[in-house]
Symmetry: C2
Subunit: 307 residues, 2 copies
């Protein structure tokens, strides 16, 4: 039976990724939207989640694509109304609010899915399988992009709870926590916060795995020219390079065939599977690392940044 | 059989609380210390945890009383050596490192105890029991003290991972998470950070419980004169006031008899119980709220503070 799905927050990520993936899916039917901005031809539109839930439109599931600062309230209302809920990344602005949603979904018997889209990048599965059988000696994460190019006009990312450069950086952490076999944690680090902003524009994290292996990450939003989304892992049996945000996998200099990019198609297939099985999937590990970074790192003020 | 215990970090909290509680306990025998500073008459002293673990002194358990920034390494070594470990609050400088210790203790089959001493304050047990049967309408936490009086010379509290005013504030959060029946989470807040410091000197947290009830907290380290460590909870059946850090309980204007202060005695009795039963007790909820506060709150710079 087709899952009738609504989207809350019809901004950039909904239009670029969620709507095309839903329209291409046999499992879902796109039936409604709720947003202060945007609309979609032929789709019932509501001002907010309250209007959506009160309306005479049958909805089985809701994808939450609004900024994280306002997500928990809408998600809680949808779960209380018995809807299955997909949370765009990050799943919330705090860890404790995600815990609240997990409790609510358990009580309601609905599916809650914290959707880490980068984990569905083509090379992630094979990278994890290859690393699982090897000793990790070190990992280096370099995630450098141009915020003006990827987040035009998104002022919420610079506000508290918007995470700043951790908005893309958490994608790297979602991949690293998926492919590295050992748990790792933050030992020290630095956040660079522009004088006119509430969130960091760059970060350096010195992390360490359970066997003492270093896991080093550099995030920067001031990268012009070529963009960098790379994870390089040294093992006792060669070097793995997962680059282009997880789309390309090179092991010891040899490129592996990993198939085409279909992150959001696979993500929605997983959501349909969870609903069919009556399961939830809410991994807080990447957001926990980010919260740790805000708590543990030294903040330094850098030049004001205008986008 | 008596549990032979060592203390790592012989600073203020070890001398003020841990040593007296251990000496007064029938369950424990104080056999060794490891510290860059301090010593204790008749007790074998080592420079650090490595020397302690390599020495010819039988040790069953280790209490970690050093600053949180250096705790994880020592705790990991003690657990790997098969020791039961007590972690002073906060249990670590990050959530992920506490998770690492939990994994290690599980693997080693040892007891790990995150000791939230304020939960052993005299009024906490009765407050929890009374609130469990009532509807919570609101809670207000006010935790204001003079950092110069309570943390003389402790520069680590101002460094990243030292938590600043959350070092005492997390005691309030450890009580609130124990006595309030509903899960609650941070919605917004402000951290005041002195111009010459890396950690906040004051904080205001707007939190919310699962039924929408407000849970408001104010922490301040600049309080002179009388000190304030109060939690006031409004319910559908009267007002509960847990004051003096949990030592006094007043319900609807009537003081309840809660017995004398014996936080660390009860804390060590619980540690002995956990060891005897082969259990661990590592609640991360208070530290998670603090990590959320660093991630979610707006930081404002305030006057430089010299202690």
């Amino acid at each position: 039976m087709t899952i009738r799905i609504a989207i809350v927050g019809l901004g950039k990520i909904a239009n670029d990724q969620h709507i095309p993936a839903i329209l291409a899916s046999d499992a879902f039917e796109f039936v409604a939207g709720a947003s202060h901005e945007g609309s979609y031809p032929g789709i019932a539109m509501f001002r907010d989640v309250d209007e959506l839930l009160a309306a005479d439109v049958r909805v089985d599931a809701v994808a939450m694509c609004q900024p994280p600062q306002v997500r928990v309230d809408a998600a809680a209302k949808a779960i209380r109304a018995g809807k299955h809920v997909l949370l765009e990344k990050p799943p919330g602005a705090t860890l404790a609010e995600v815990e609240a949603l997990v409790q609510l979904a358990k009580g309601a018997g609905t599916t809650l899915f914290a959707a880490w889209h980068s984990r569905f990048a083509p090379g992630v599965h094979d990278a994890r399988a290859w690393l699982a059988e090897r000793r990790i000696d070190s990992a280096r994460i370099v995630w450098k992009e141009d915020v003006r190019r990827w987040h035009p006009g998104q002022q919420w990312i610079w506000e508290p709870g918007g995470l700043g450069v951790f908005d893309p950086g958490i994608n790297a952490l979602s991949i690293a926590t998926a492919i590295l076999p050992n748990h790792f944690y933050l030992a020290s680090g630095t956040l660079e916060v522009p004088a006119n902003r509430a969130a960091p524009i760059a970060a350096e994290l010195n992390m360490v795995g359970m066997n003492g292996e270093p896991v080093h990450a550099v995030f920067d939003w001031r990268q012009q020219g070529p963009q960098t989304w790379d994870i390089v892992v040294e093992t006792d049996d060669g070097t793995l390079s997962l680059t282009h945000g997880g789309a390309q996998l090179v092991i010891d200099g040899t490129a592996r065939e990993v198939g085409p990019e279909r992150e959001y198609s696979d993500l929605y297939a997983h959501f349909a599977h969870l609903i069919a099985q009556g399961l939830s999937d809410v991994d807080r590990t990447p957001l926990r690392l980010v919260a740790d970074a805000f708590m543990r790192c030294r903040q330094v003020q850098v030049d004001a940044f205008e986008d």
